[in-house]
Each structure stands twice: as C-alpha cells, then as structure tokens.
C-alpha cells in the first residue's frame, strides 16, 4: 500500500515536472528555500538572489526558516517535498545535511539544490563555489603588496593564513592562496596556521597577534567565528586582514584589506534563470568560480586608495586570466 502510494506520488511529481518543462513560460516556477541563516551573511545573499528572481521572472517563493529545532528538520523537508509542489528547493546549512539526505531518499523526484558543498547523493544538485580561485586572487593581491613593499606591507616578505581546522575544504583556501603568492609575487611566502576550532574567536585573535608579531602584515582567514577574532586582532594591532565568504569590510573598517566573496545571490539567480529559460537544473555539482561571477575579490573601499595603481592593474589581469582559463588554479599539486 505504502509502495503504491509512493509510486503515485512519484508519478504525479514526474508529471508536474514534464508539464513544467513543457510550457515553462506559462506555468509559474515555484521555488522553496530552507535554511536557518536567512538573516545573516550568506543567507542574506541567497535571499537577495531569490528576491531578484522573483521580480525578474515572477517565480513564486516559499521561505522556510528551520529555526533551531534539530528534531524536526526532516519533517520540514518532507512537508516541502511531499506535495511535489515546488520545482526547486534550495538548502543551505551543514546541520541540515542528514535530514536532507533522508528526505532526498524518500522523495527522489524532488529537486534539491544544496548550496556551498558537495554531498554523496547523486540525485541532488550542488552549488560548489571554487574557493581556491578566490584564494588565488587573495594570494596575488597580498603577495604583490608585500613584494612591492607598499606602505603598511613592508615589515617582511611573508603573508599570513589562518584556517579553522586542518580539513580538506580549508586546505583548498590555503592551496589557492599559496599558488597565487608563488606565481604572482616573487620572493614572498605564506605563513600558515590552524586554530583547531571554528568557534574560538579568542584563539583566532591570539594566533593573529602571533603572526603579526612575527612581521606578517596581512592575514587571510578561513575560520568562521574564529576568523572574526582575526579581524578584530587586525584592528588592535593596526595591521590588515582579509575577510572570507561574505563582505566583512565593515567589521574593522580600515584594517580589512579585502573580502573574498562567495556570491550565493549570483548562483541562485543564475540557476533559476536557467530553469526559466529552458535549461533545467540537473543533478550533480555546478561550479561557480571567477568566470561565472560566483567568486569575487572585493577590495574594501576604506583602503582602496592605499593600494598602488599598478597592483590593481595587475590584479585585474590575474582575474581575467583566471576567468578565461589562462591561469589554472590547481589543488593538491
């Protein structure tokens, strides 16, 4: 009985999909988004992308804030998926992964799009930001400033990196930065440390103080809340730090050199646009790097005039080099 029911549900979902694909312009696209982070950083970017798609394409939006109730995450996914009502369901937040994968098994025809990471399930779509490309740009910028002995960057020929834990995804940031420094700034090296935790900003601050004390003038952090401590240390020490994921220039204005942005708004908008224009979202990872506009290095306004013009010109060359594939950012080399 139950199996029959599921077949029925699957059948109707399939029918809905075929219908949707058949006359995409006539039917309004229905999009849901589930996360616990809609009012901060990355979540705001996702909301912006969704809102823009709503205005431009008239899609129907359903926002589900998971709140803090870990027990019913799965139920929340199932509630969205069981009607087969929504064409696309965007999901953000690592704490939701288990529930998401269970719901994905129960409702294999519901198209889930997980933002910022790749999971095991082959039937889901993944927005995968190419963080190593952005980190390459960070390496190029900080390295060139150190090599040129620009004002405020002349203490040593080292630039710093602070990671949360020594895990593969954080290594991607470091490898990108190291390659950027090695290829774009001769004689400069990266001094890297890991805090061993993502939620100890005091430790982040102490690590940053240590690096600054050793003559490092600028630190790139990929360490979540621990990294917030790094940004505060930059202010206390009168040195520079580089923000990550979202625009962190405002945290310590004047001491944040740049922010490596993952443009979730660009990715979300782009996927919905494709769906509307007859290029449906398919399972598997979709990479958003520099070329697609998903990764961007934003130089903070407060410090923009301290960066020499030739460094800016060179950085733009590097950026377009990555975008058109002349510069290949490799991992595990």
């Amino acid at each position: 009985m139950k199996a029959k029911f599921r077949n029925l549900a699957a059948g109707s979902a399939l029918a809905a999909m075929l219908l949707g694909a058949g006359n995409a312009s006539a039917e309004t696209l229905k999009v849901a988004a589930i996360s616990g982070y809609f009012s901060q950083g990355f979540g705001i970017a996702i909301m912006n992308g969704l809102k823009k798609a709503e205005t431009d394409f008239g899609v129907e939006l359903k926002i589900v804030d998971t709140g803090n109730r870990a027990l019913d995450y799965e139920e929340q996914f199932n509630n969205i998926a069981k009607g087969g009502e929504y064409d696309l369901v965007f999901v953000m937040g690592w704490e939701l992964v288990d529930a998401l994968q269970k719901s994905n098994q129960a409702y294999p025809d519901q198209r889930f799009i997980f933002i910022d990471g790749v999971l095991d399930s082959p039937s889901m779509t993944y927005v995968d930001f190419v963080e190593e490309e952005g980190s390459y740009l960070v390496g190029a910028l900080t390295g060139m400033l150190a090599a040129a002995d620009a004002e405020g960057f002349n203490s040593s020929d080292e630039v710093g990196f602070i990671g949360g834990r020594d895990i593969p995804v954080i290594r991607n940031f470091l490898m990108g930065m190291e390659q950027g420094v090695a290829e774009q700034a001769e004689g400069v090296s990266v001094s890297s440390v890991f805090a061993g935790t993502f939620d100890d900003p005091a430790k982040g601050s102490e690590l940053a103080m240590t690096l600054y004390g050793q003559g490092v003038d600028v630190i790139y952090q990929a360490a979540g809340p621990t990294g917030e401590g790094v940004l505060q240390a930059a202010k206390a020490a009168g040195k520079y730090a580089v923000g990550v994921d979202i625009d962190q220039c405002g945290t310590a204005p004047g001491n944040i050199l740049a922010s490596m942005l993952k443009r979730a708004d660009v990715a979300v908008y782009d996927l919905i646009k494709g769906e509307v224009e007859g290029k449906p979202v398919k399972p598997g990872p979709v990479s958003y790097g520099v070329a697609a506009g998903g990764i961007e290095l934003k130089i903070c306004d407060e410090v923009a005039d301290k960066i020499p013009a030739e460094v800016k010109t060179k950085l733009e060359e590097v950026r377009s080099g990555i975008a058109d594939g002349k510069i290949q950012v490799k991992l595990n080399q």
Binding site: G36, Y37, S39, Q40, G67, N68, R165, D166, S191, S192, V193, F194, G196, T197, D199, D200, P201, A202, K203, S205, E206, L207, M209, T210, L211, G213, Q214, G224, P225, T226, E228, G229, Q232, A233, G250, T251
Partner: protein, 317 residues
C-alpha cells in the same frame, strides 16, 4: 638562533598573560567550590552564559561596565541554581553541572536566534568592549614594560584576584568556614557552622568569578560572542582544580603554565608542524606538570575526588 628568536621573544610574555587570564579567572572561581567540597563541573557553562549576557548587557546599557555586571549577574543566577540543586536538593553535582553546561550551550544559541535573528556569532558595532589600559609608570620601563601594559582591565584583575582569593580563603572567618565545610563537614556542623550556607556562598562567589571570566572573553579579549566560545576553558579549569586541590597559588601556577604552553604552541605551528599535534601540547604539558607536582598527595586526592563524585558516601553528621 633566528628560529629561537622567533619563538622566544618578548611578545611571548604578553601572549602568555592574555591566554592565562580567562582560565585563571574561572579557575579561581572554582577554588571556592573546591574548598567547600563541591566538585563543580559547571564552570564551562557559567562562563559561556557570562560571555553571552555580557555582550547583551553591553548592547543594552551601551557601556562595558554594564555588560560586565549583567554577565556576572547571569552567571551568579546559574551558580545559585547549581547550589540549589546540589546543596539543598542533594542532587548529584556532576549530573547537575553537566546539565547546566548543556543548558548554557543551547540557551545561548536559542537566545542569539531569538534576539539577533542570527546563528553562529554576534558581531556588532553596538557592542561596547573594554578599553585597553596603559599602566602609567610601567609603560615607560622599556620594551618589557610595554609588554606588561596595555591589557584590558580584567587581565590585571585576574592576577590581582589570586591574592584576593587567597586572602578570603585563609585570612577571613568566612574563608575558614568554607574550608572547614569542605575538609570536615562534621566538625563544621559541630561548631555550629551551617555547611549548606557555606556551600551556597562558595557557589555564588564562584559564579561571580566565572561570570567575570566570560565577560573578559566576550568584551575584553575580543568584542563579540560566538557559539560555544568558552571552548573548553571551563573544563581545563576543572582539571587544574583537581590537581591543585583548589589552592590559589597552585592554581596560578597551573594556569600560567597552560597559558605559556598555549602561547608557545601557537608559535610552533608557524614552523610547519602539524596543527593537530601542536594543539595538544598545552594540555599535555599542564597535565604532566600538575600530576608531577601533586604526585605525593595522590592517595588523598583520589579519595576526595571519589567522595565528591559520590562514589564513596560522604559522611555527614
């Protein structure tokens, strides 16, 4: 040689004082409960709540002092709940302590979400942090003087508190009564000392210092709140307390050693050693040293720990 200079420079002293201060404050709080015969595993949670409410208070009152007071108040309330359960209602202190730690972790996440609508951390320009204080005379004593100056107020207070706590415990009537309560409850009752009252008082003193430690973390060390930002410092304090038997001077020694090893390990990482290995160093060093220091007293310590864990029934009149 150059390598050694990069590790052992004068900045290491400042880093040691910074990393020591929060653990020292919370450990000193724990000396009161340890001396009063309560095994207080709830330090971590009290510290975390202190940190959270200090940030909240700082935003509400727009002053760092207001933040500290509200942070300490929150921590004292939790300490009161702890002693209410443990002393008055005779619940198991480990269970209550753990429960309060879990409550603190969940409550701060929920309140962050409810009040600020965010998860993970509270970073805002509205949080008023504590100012750095340049000590007038010491600051002019060359580079070493400059390293000993320019901290936020609670760093100085944490080291001053070692003496204050020692004074309270060993030179005041209430300190004597607290110690008697912990060492010989039967004798205390015979002398007409209310052991229950002493344990309540010790727990509240502990709450004050744990709250200060939390407020230092979120308004002094840095100016923000992050989920679980106490990051095991309260548990480290419990370890220091077990081995030091709550003696303020030994507590200072243990915490300084931990702070030094911690600051040192951060430096070792820049030479390419694996972060996983290096990050264990401070814990290993501290445990090894405290163990060696108290080797001779072990039988007594084990007995007392077993007693406080209620593995052996505590004899009470």
């Amino acid at each position: 040689m150059e390598v050694l200079e990069r590790i052992f420079n004068i900045a290491l002293i400042a880093a040691t004082l910074r990393t020591t201060a929060p653990i020292l404050l919370v450990s000193l709080g724990g000396t009161f409960t340890t001396k009063a015969g309560i095994f207080n595993i709830g330090l971590e949670g009290q510290m975390l709540l202190g940190a959270f409410f200090a940030v909240l208070g700082s935003i509400w009152t727009q002053s760092a002092l207001g933040g500290v007071l509200i942070g300490v108040t929150a921590s004292v309330v939790v300490a009161g709940i702890f002693s209410l359960f443990v002393v008055t209602l005779r619940a198991n202190e480990v269970v209550v302590g753990l429960a309060l730690n879990l409550l603190a972790g969940g409550l701060t996440i929920t309140l962050t979400k409810a009040i600020f609508g965010t998860r993970g951390s509270i970073v805002s320009g509205d949080i008023v942090g504590m100012p750095r204080i340049e000590l007038p005379v010491i600051h002019d004593l060359g580079p070493l003087g400059q390293m000993l100056s320019g901290f936020t107020p609670l760093v100085y207070l944490s080291f001053a508190m070692v003496f204050v706590v020692w004074l309270i415990l060993y030179r005041t009537r209430i300190g004597l009564h607290i110690r008697v309560t912990g060492e010989k409850p039967a004798a205390a009752e015979a002398l007409g000392i209310s052991t229950a009252a002493m344990q309540h008082i010790a727990s509240l003193f502990c709450g004050v210092l744990a709250g200060l430690a939390g407020a230092h973390l979120s308004l002094g060390y840095i100016t923000m709140f992050a989920e679980n930002m106490s990051s095991g410092r309260g548990f480290m304090a419990v370890a220091v307390l077990i081995f030091s038997n709550g003696d303020p001077v030994r507590v200072l020694f243990g915490c300084l050693l931990f702070g030094f090893a911690d600051a040192l390990s951060l430096r070792l990482q820049t030479f390419g050693l694996s972060s996983y290995l290096v990050l264990t160093v401070p814990y290993l060093v501290t445990l090894a040293a405290l163990f060696a220091l108290t080797y001779r007293q072990r039988p007594k310590l084990f007995r007392e720990t077993a007693e406080t864990l209620s593995l052996i029934r505590r004899r009470q009149a």
